[in-house]
């Protein structure tokens, strides 16, 4: 335990760790000191001056974002001096601001708007021509910049210097001509550029993919996990009417702090862009779900001589619970199994993992270790009768591994191919049965990231068409095949997973919570 000090903020005794800044100590005690430039995961700039507070014995007001707590310190955050100073800073921040909130994309998330209501004087004494700046500057692949709205807090600059370490942004010029910019001809194109939008306290930096799509207050927020790679960055999913509008990172000091990569941030886009498979198919023709499940059960079923040789290809994008039931299916059919890899690029020093799936560690825990290629090769060689594939992207022509090729050869060779598919575009024409699977955002469950942290992915929309979760599909098949009544609620399936994977024992489904929990014993629970 770190050394602590006791101080008084607004007549309340507070204990805080030594070296903590006053603004944090206050926040922990539920006292909000307004700020713009401060950011807990960036260096202290102290330039906005919004957080000025009165500290007894100090000759003038001090900024709460940089002053560290000391024993016996007495802080006032609401004295007349403080309120006047705050109103003064607000006024100065607004004199050159366009005040275009009605057309600003940041409306609802803008600290300037929020604070000017709370701390401003309401009227402007500034009667001169405002500074004019460039609007809609195309700063990078994903980022648009509005010079006039920028308050020069330098959060974005510090992010690029300290977090992404790419250094594209800088303050240029001087005095009231100071502006954020890039080197002539360069762009803000790093793998994490979207974070600058999140941390910009005003509407100066906006994300091309989200601008003007929706007012934030129309969107529902769900805490979830990014499915983009094995890091499993914690995110908030913003959705409305069964459509995801954006991902934003959600704080988890153990996983992603408050950041996420651009690719993950935009990983919901294909969900919107690709054409969904809304109904089951048999031999390429739409059928009733019941018929498709029956057929699948029939193909898998049979005992003794008539038992088919079954091969199962699991998916590291499915949840731990999905995979637990799939494991049971493997057991029921004495199937041979494998798991594909979806890898691209390299791991970096910040968040990005080359494993582009969120749950490979979970799959491994349930015994899905063999490379999918081995199963597919057996199938292509005629050693498998029925191939059960959980993720149609296995057949993706885009996959540059030889797995895609093998998978297509296997599809042609086997007697019957059963596929869980969410989109139409990659379903092989040979499939005997295609079961429409729910996509990310439509299901709940658990992912385990590469460090062994179990994290909860949550649904934020209703399933499209007649699609079903993997759990529902698998338990329906099991029932028709006569393997018994399988659980289909994630929390119930969790117990089955526990039975299959010893490291899960002692951890309840709800223990995973919003911050996740380490299951390999290495880390602490969140």
């Amino acid at each position: 335990m770190a050394e602590t000090v006791t101080l008084t903020i607004d007549d309340r005794q507070i204990t805080a760790p030594k070296e903590m800044v006053v603004i944090e100590a206050a926040r922990r005690a539920g006292i909000e000191i307004p700020y713009y430039c401060y950011h807990p995961y960036l260096s202290i700039a102290g330039n906005c001056r919004m957080c000025l507070v009165e500290i007894e014995k100090a000759p003038k007001l001090q900024i709460a974002c940089s002053i560290e707590v000391t024993e016996g310190m007495v802080v006032h955050t609401g004295s007349k001096n403080v309120l006047d100073a705050r109103a003064g800073v607000m006024e100065l921040l607004l004199i050159n601001h366009p005040l275009d909130c009605p057309i600003c994309d940041q409306a609802g998330e803008c600290r300037l708007q929020e604070y000017s209501l709370a701390h401003g004087s309401g009227t402007s004494r500034f009667e001169h021509e405002k500074h004019h700046g460039r609007k809609n500057v195309d700063l990078g692949r994903h980022i648009v910049f509005d010079e006039e709205r920028c308050i020069k807090c330098t959060r974005c600059v510090r992010f690029c210097d300290e977090v992404s370490k790419t250094g594209e942004l800088a303050l240029l010029n001087r005095g009231d001509e100071t502006i954020i910019g890039v080197f002539p001809g360069h762009r803000l194109d790093n793998a994490y550029s979207g974070n600058t939008v999140d941390i910009c306290p005003v509407g100066a930096l906006t994300l091309k993919e989200f601008r003007f799509r929706s007012r934030v207050w129309f969107l529902e927020q769900t805490p979830s996990i990014c499915p983009g790679c094995a890091r499993g960055c914690n995110v908030t999913v913003w959705a409305r009417e069964d459509r995801i509008y954006r991902f934003t990172p959600r704080e988890n000091p153990e996983v992603n702090k408050v950041w996420m990569c651009d690719e993950g941030r935009l990983s919901y886009l294909p969900l919107v862009a690709r054409e969904r498979l809304l109904e089951p198919l048999m031999d390429g023709e739409p059928v009733r779900l019941q018929d498709a499940v029956d057929r699948a059960a029939n193909l898998l079923g049979g005992v003794g001589e008539r038992a088919p040789r079954v091969g199962v290809v699991a998916s590291p994008r499915a949840t731990l619970e999905d995979l637990a039931l799939l494991r049971r299916l493997c057991e029921a059919t004495s199937a041979t199994d494998g798991i594909p890899r979806f890898e691209r690029g390299e791991d970096d020093d910040l968040l990005i993992r080359k494993d582009k799936t969120p749950n490979l560690a979970g799959a491994r825990l349930l015994g899905f270790e063999r490379p999918a290629a081995e199963v597919l090769r057996e199938a292509a060689e005629g050693k498998i009768d029925v191939l059960y594939v959980m993720d149609e992207d296995l057949f993706s022509p885009a996959a540059d591994s030889d797995e895609g090729d093998l998978a297509r050869r296997a599809a042609r060779k086997v007697r019957a191919l059963i596929v869980h598919a969410s989109f139409r575009d990659r379903v092989p024409s040979q499939a005997a049965v295609v079961l429409p699977a729910a996509v990310y955002g439509e299901y709940e469950g658990t992912y385990i990231n590469f460090e062994g942290r179990a994290q909860r992915v949550r649904a934020s929309m209703r399933r499209a068409g007649r699609s079903r979760t993997h759990l529902a599909i698998l338990s329906a098949v099991a029932q028709r095949a006569g393997w018994g009544e399988w659980a289909r609620e994630p929390s119930d399936v969790w117990k089955e997973a526990q039975a299959l994977a010893a490291p899960l024992s002692g951890i309840g489904y709800d223990d995973v919570g919003t911050d996740g929990v380490m299951i390999t014993g290495k880390g602490e629970s969140g």
Partner: protein
């Protein structure tokens, strides 16, 4: 007028050469410090002299040296601040151009006192002559074993890096200057931490003004008691005063601290530049210090007396204004300077300076309302004490003092819808 001490060499032919400097006792202070005294003794001696920093704030130099930790594992640095950019100030330039060895000797002694192995001299970018003179002095000193490895045969070695600024007043602020040396924009840093703990390159650093260091050799050569006799209580030593504006002979004049301001104006600088015109106002310490009306200006020019009179000795840049000077226009000029020189990082200064310029310009142009006069004071109040560095105060103090002391002129501008003195030059 007393005999010059600091400027004793100046005006002599070859005053900038080592030979000339040595002939009048130059580098004797260094010899004494290095061969007879420990660094702690030197600090003590300077403390006893009562020398206060000449860079503006008047902080006791020996005390400041004492703040530099002795036991740090990091290198310690000594910086000499030669950025001299406060409007109305031009004394450091004179010292560097004409008596560079005095500056150099001071830097070497100071570095020895704080245990620095490397020193930095940051010269304002426009001062080419100063740069050349200091570079030549450094060369001479190296050859004479006064600088470099094993100074005067002792175990003490020092290297001096000459730095040139590139046009930014704010680099005179000590932490802005450090950022500038580090190759960055001259953005002043948050304090704490203070430079004595975390300064240049993150190491313990001491910084002093050129004139401050030029006093040090005298103290070491002639002793603290001798030095402390000059000037007045708590304000010891000789001082350079820069007179500019409406005086007959603008220039740098030396006098003991505590000299009468009117002596400086009427005797040293020869009085008003145009016969028959009366003194209207004086800015005593560079343009950032509060202005004094003529009737409050016959004061003693030392740190404490000027403060008591409601202004500051600052850099002792005395700007004199006669009756033809328009106080609104003069304030506008000052505000434009600070707006131009604001580094732009903190809100009150970046936004406030220019707002002040806009308000005062509209008054000067005859478009002001009487509410604007109060607004000037009020906006200045929203800057004062609320910024990262004292440049915010440097703009707020003149704004508030001009309005308070010459309110009638501002009102007249509003009433007459223009400047009654326009074109009076």
């Amino acid at each position: 007028m007393s005999e010059p001490i600091l400027l004793a060499n100046i005006g002599e032919p070859d005053s900038q050469t080592l030979e000339k400097y040595r002939s009048s006792g130059g580098y004797e202070g260094l010899r004494r410090a290095i061969s007879d005294m420990s660094p702690a003794d030197v600090v003590e001696e300077v403390k006893k002299s009562g020398l206060r920093g000449r860079g503006g704030a008047g902080f006791p130099t020996g005390v400041k040296w004492g703040f530099v930790p002795k036991d740090s594992s990091k290198p310690r640095y000594f910086i000499c601040n030669a950025d001299e950019s406060e409007p109305g100030t031009f004394k450091d330039r004179l010292l560097m151009e004409q008596d560079p060895h005095a500056v150099l000797e001071g830097i070497i002694i100071g570095s020895y006192a704080i245990g620095a192995r490397e020193a930095f001299l940051y010269i304002r970018g426009e001062f080419a002559d100063s740069y050349r003179a200091m570079a030549a002095a450094i060369d001479e000193a190296k050859h004479a074993s006064l600088l470099g490895m094993k100074i005067l045969g002792s175990s003490y070695s020092l290297e001096i890096h000459l730095f040139r600024g590139a046009g930014a007043y704010i680099c005179g602020e000590e932490t802005g200057l450090m950022e500038s040396i580090e190759g960055k924009r001259g953005h002043p840093r948050l304090k704490p931490p203070f430079p004595a703990a975390v300064g240049l390159f993150g190491c313990p650093t001491n910084i002093n003004n050129v004139e401050t260091v030029a006093n040090v050799p005298l103290i070491l050569r002639k002793g603290a008691p001798w030095y402390a006799e000059i000037g007045c209580e708590r304000n010891t030593g000789p001082k350079l005063y820069c007179l500019s504006g409406h005086v007959k002979r603008p220039g740098v004049y030396e006098a003991p601290l505590g000299v009468r301001l009117h002596d400086l104006i009427y005797e040293h600088a020869g009085g008003m530049w145009r016969q028959g015109l009366k003194l209207k106002a004086v800015i005593p310490g560079g343009s950032s210090t509060p202005v004094l009306r003529a009737d409050e200006s016959d004061i003693d020019m030392d740190f404490d007396s000027v403060a008591k009179a409601g202004s500051l000795l600052g850099s002792a840049g005395v700007i004199v204004m006669d009756e033809t000077a328009c106080m609104v226009d003069s304030l506008l000029n000052i505000l434009k300077f600070y707006a131009h020189e604001s580094c732009g990082q903190c809100t009150p200064c970046r936004e406030g300076c220019n707002w002040l310029v806009k308000i005062v310009r509209s008054i000067e142009d005859g478009k002001g309302k009487s509410a604007d006069i109060d607004l000037v004071e009020n906006v200045a109040g929203n800057i004062m004490g609320k910024t990262i560095c004292p440049l915010g105060d440097a703009v707020a103090m003149p704004a508030q003092s001009f309005v308070r002391k010459f309110r009638h002129e501002f009102e007249e501008h509003v009433r007459l819808k223009g400047c009654p003195l326009k074109g009076a030059h």
